[in-house]
């Protein structure tokens, strides 16, 4: 039961997938599980749908764990999904949001990679697809999107950690999201969660031109990081991807933005390098707790600014 699941611990893919069923069972009128596709190694790609009814309501997409070694993101995803379910009917803002919008939440976006980090190589980042003509495995699923695909900040070498793949959306883990979001047609925000570096960013990553909605996205990012910092004092930097870190082509949020999802953000959670990808599990709940108000800021803003 949910009562025995330890949110302060890292879990295997099977444990997380079992927990998805527990969450659905505990909140049958609110949470359902849908399968949007299969990974390269034929694992199901599950998405939690938080909905109180209505057809094709405006929706928010959240994904965690597209880079498999960023374990705090899947763990934060589990905590956040549970929080959404638990707070509906208790917290007026969550109740209001879910009475008017749907939230789709993919917690393990790269299940093959995540399983591989548990079984074979804790430092694995990419998908597990075989690359023709190379002994190197995998594609960086955050360079595989059709937004400046193949440009600077991605690699054409299959052995690179930022290998873009043979063509845009070559990875089923990416293509499944593309098909789902385009098929839905009413996704208003996309939040893609990574670690580490403590940043909140928005388009663009593949070009230096400011996004048409730069000012609004920037102001909302500032509010979100301020509210995040108010919890434990954790400082985040924010801005466009290209200004905040570097040029990166073919990323999730650039694709979303260019396909009409105005509120497209990417988080880089804790820490700033003391532990990096090996963040102790004692920091899972603090990380998720401080991220929660920032997520709420974005979600509430989307609700209050229909377009």
């Amino acid at each position: 039961s949910a009562g025995t699941f330890d949110f302060a611990s890292y879990h295997t893919l099977d444990e997380i997938y079992d927990w998805l069923d527990t969450l659905v069972a505990n909140h049958p009128g609110l949470v359902s599980k849908i399968q949007i596709g299969e990974s390269y190694e034929k694992r199901p790609l599950y998405v939690l749908k938080f909905s109180t009814g209505g057809s094709n309501r405006p929706a928010i997409w959240i994904d965690t764990g597209i880079h498999s070694r960023e374990w705090v993101t899947q763990a934060t995803g589990v905590w956040t999904a549970n929080k959404l379910a638990e707070e509906y009917g208790r917290d007026p803002s969550i109740t209001s949001i879910l009475d008017s919008m749907d939230i789709f939440f993919e917690i393990v976006t790269n299940p093959d990679g995540y399983a591989f980090t548990h079984s074979s190589n804790r430092m694995w980042r990419k998908t597990r697809s075989i690359n023709a003509g190379s002994s190197c495995v995998g594609v960086d699923p955050n360079r595989n999107w059709d937004a400046g695909f193949g440009g600077a900040g991605s690699s054409s070498s299959p052995c690179s950690e930022t290998y873009r793949g043979p063509y845009a959306h070559s990875e089923s883990e990416v293509k499944s999201i593309v098909d789902f979001i385009l098929g839905h047609g009413n996704v208003k925000a996309l939040i893609s969660i990574h670690s580490y570096s403590q940043m909140l960013m928005f388009p663009y990553g593949y070009k230096r031109t400011p996004a048409p909605d730069y000012q609004e996205l920037n102001e909302l990012a500032k509010k979100a990081v301020d509210d995040l910092a108010a919890v434990y004092g954790t400082e985040y930097t924010y801005g466009s991807i290209v200004d905040t870190i570097y040029v990166a082509s073919g990323t999730t949020v650039d694709w979303a933005y260019e396909n009409g999802v105005k509120y497209s953000y990417t988080f880089e959670l804790r820490d700033t390098g003391r532990y990096g990808f090996l963040l102790p599990s004692s920091q899972i709940i603090p990380t998720a707790t401080e991220t929660w108000p920032a997520l709420l800021d974005i979600i509430l803003h989307v609700q209050q600014h229909p377009y």
Binding site: D6, H11, N121, R122, I245, Y246, G276, F277, L278, S281
Partner: protein, 96 residues
């Protein structure tokens, strides 16, 4: 299961574009098998680099010979992994 005994994570700070180019070239050397946890981007902004134990000496000599400053962020990656695994086992026991 791949082990990371003796691997270190170095925090590297390039002071100019030339040093950034050198770090990028370092990342592409297949013999060293280094893994950038945070890519080198601009002068003054630190990047993090996991270096396998067998490559440590060569990488440190490379950095020093090019005047690129670094510090050790993680002394032994495997030690952190062992702790992580132990914590998971304990939690699993508690859950049962």
């Amino acid at each position: 299961e791949q082990l990371f005994v003796g691997d270190q994570v170095l925090r590297v700070t390039a002071s100019n574009e030339e040093q950034i180019a050198l770090l990028r070239a370092l990342g592409q050397r297949e013999d060293l098998q280094v893994d950038f946890w945070r890519d080198p981007t601009k002068p003054g902004r630190p990047s993090d680099l996991r270096v396998p134990f067998p490559s440590l000496q060569a990488v440190k000599i490379f950095l020093e010979s090019h005047g690129i400053s670094y510090s050790i962020m993680i002394e032994d990656v495997q030690q952190l992994l062992d702790e992580e695994k132990k914590t998971m086992m304990l939690a699993r026991g508690r859950e049962r």
